[in-house]
Symmetry: C2
Subunit: 382 residues, 2 copies
């Protein structure tokens, strides 16, 4: 058999700290560490050296003691599988200081292995039947509430005009409100509200679950009438999210939550960029909406970081659909206009406590919907 | 139904940066963010406030602008499931700067939900029939080799006295050596070596795989005669590793690999401590051996950090068996005595390139085994 290498390569950009010599050393190290995991001298001459080892395509200074390395890998190294793709992109080198994964440029053949978001932005709008205003999402909480309490809240949210009513990501299968009991009641409550309003709001339960029960819960949710799934990929696995998204029996939109991802983005010199982590990777793993901590909220992301997430969710990535960026945290009545200036119609507005600021939940939702209408008509006028 | 709260709580220690007032604010924030995810004012009076919200048990200065907070949570918040336990311990607050998860103190009832390492240190020794010297592990590489080449290497390793022959963690299901072809040949090769030597060395293939194929590959490995499984929990999910470990049909030792974990430990003020990440968490997730980047190797862990990993692998954690700390990287002939001083008999020595330093693989393994014998007899004499 001839050596199985197509010659096709995918690329990743890394931000590397150090002098030019150090940056080059680190880039060369990425090429070896992420593939053959041997010093070059121990790599046999021939096709492995020629094809398998990563290749530095460019090394560019981008700041003081800061370089960007573009490195290409043979598509065969990833074997067409997401966990192994992540392994090649950022497996062992995640442990080495001063290397940050900035951007992916995957090749056509590799991208074809991924279905991406089943619905994406336009598909989600289609499911909800809302085309002319921003989408509104909120969360059922607090943990400790009974299924009846959560269902009552779900009803009120959907009844008053929230498009997507999701579980708080901390709701799993606790004795306060077991998954089965909660999902049945909340889905029923949202259906009741829809019947009254004529809207197509949906409920997305959280399926943080043991590995052997994730699909079971997802099917249970589907049967109970849930219209989407809330998934924490860092807790149950990015590839588990992908498998849920690609499951044709489920065929439910996937809303991704950033729980447990923070360590990847807390350092500017290590980890993974916001663009990749909350954007590109989410789409590869099938998320239709990617929740992320909003600027001005309690998590400290900058405007620039939030912009890069939006870009990662929507910029060209083969034929993969754009995901809906979904900023949450820090969304308040008084800054909604400001958020609109930043995001416009391009995101789902995830508003929690903000809905309760000025009075009842119903008043809050009405006020947000009124502001949305004003913004949209103002835009139309301009 | 009365409110389902047993009163039993588990604890976690967090390292928090800031002034005392800031540290207290952050600690209070952990209590809310990780449970009800609401400002205190919005949490209803009654059992949720009383039981569900985290509780600051202690806040202690441990350095300049550095505090340790001990926070307790009702065991019900975790619902007896590992993904949700991680969610409570470090879900959203992973995204907030200046908070690091340092140590877990799980309660009896919660710990009973976890089987932990099936074999642990003594079980692994039992499987290998080696009680009187340190264990030796090595990896099959490089990626790009054919199944025949890898099997030949596996044979030579086992034949010359390596106890555990594992796949390089970068071997998945690539066209160079598909999983099925590689595993069959390598398992056979190690069996052949065992038949000749009378030893009980085993082969542990890497099962980095899509979510829906992980168990399939694990069963295939078992049928082919593999003696263990190499798992990257950060790539396929910590709870997937736990499920593999607890599967009674498989009943194979689990060797955990740190690929993709680096972002958690690159900052002293964020992420998760080495003690938890490569120690306690590995045992909760069923790892019998926990591979980590060794001091002096190419990853830059300190002696102190390596010591803390060993402690996390072996210190009391309910009735969970100790896992075998398995330092890899930077293990060389010339520093083996130094490694012995640091680790003694308490770890598995994972040696890759070091085995080739002075000549053939066979000579390298013989030299390591000779050094082990000297160290052990020296110890016995002292």
């Amino acid at each position: 058999m001839s050596f199985p290498a197509s010659g096709e390569r995918f690329r990743a950009r890394y931000r590397i700290t150090g002098s030019e010599a150090e940056a080059r050393r680190k880039a060369e190290d990425i090429c070896l560490e992420q593939t053959v995991e041997l010093p070059l001298a121990l790599v046999p001459e021939g096709p492995i050296r020629e094809h398998v080892i990563g290749r530095i395509e460019a090394l560019t200074p981008i700041g003081h003691e800061l370089y960007e390395a573009e490195i290409s890998f043979a598509i065969e190294t990833a074997g067409g599988e997401l966990p192994q793709l992540l392994n090649v992109l950022f497996g062992n080198i995640s442990i080495k200081p001063g290397i940050r994964l900035e951007q992916l440029e995957l090749s056509a053949t590799l991208l074809q292995r991924f279905r991406g978001p089943r619905f994406g932005q336009s598909g989600l709008r289609g499911l909800l039947g809302v085309y002319d205003r921003p989408l509104l999402m909120t969360a059922l909480k607090p943990m400790g509430s009974s299924p009846e309490q959560l269902a009552e809240l779900a009803y009120r949210c959907a009844r008053s005009g929230v498009d997507i009513v999701k579980d708080d990501h901390g709701l799993a299968n606790q004795p306060f409100a077991t998954f089965a009991a909660r999902v049945a009641r909340c889905a029923e409550a949202v259906a009741k509200a829809n019947a009254e309003t004529g809207a197509k709001s949906f409920y997305a339960p959280s399926i943080t679950a043991p590995a052997t029960e994730v699909f079971q819960r997802a099917y249970l949710a589907k049967e109970a009438g849930a219209g989407g799934l809330l998934v924490c990929p860092a807790l149950i696995g990015f590839d588990t999210m992908r498998a849920l998204a690609e499951d044709d029996t489920l065929a439910l939109p996937i809303i991704s939550h950033p729980s447990f991802t923070g360590a990847f983005v807390t350092s500017p010199t290590n980890g993974i960029s916001h663009y990749v982590l909350y954007g590109q990777l989410q789409r590869l793993a099938g998320a239709d909406a990617s929740i992320y901590p909003n600027v001005g909220g309690r998590f400290g992301f900058s405007v620039e970081e939030c912009r890069s997430i939006v870009a990662g969710c929507v910029e060209l990535l083969g034929s993969l659909a754009p995901a809906f960026p979904t900023p949450g945290g820090g969304m308040r009545m008084h800054n909604l206009a400001q958020m609109w200036e930043l995001y416009g119609d391009a995101v789902i507005y995830l508003i929690g406590g903000g809905l309760r600021e000025g009075g009842t939940l119903e008043e809050g939702v009405a006020e947000v919907r009124r502001q949305f209408a004003t913004m949209v008509s103002h835009n139309a006028a301009v």
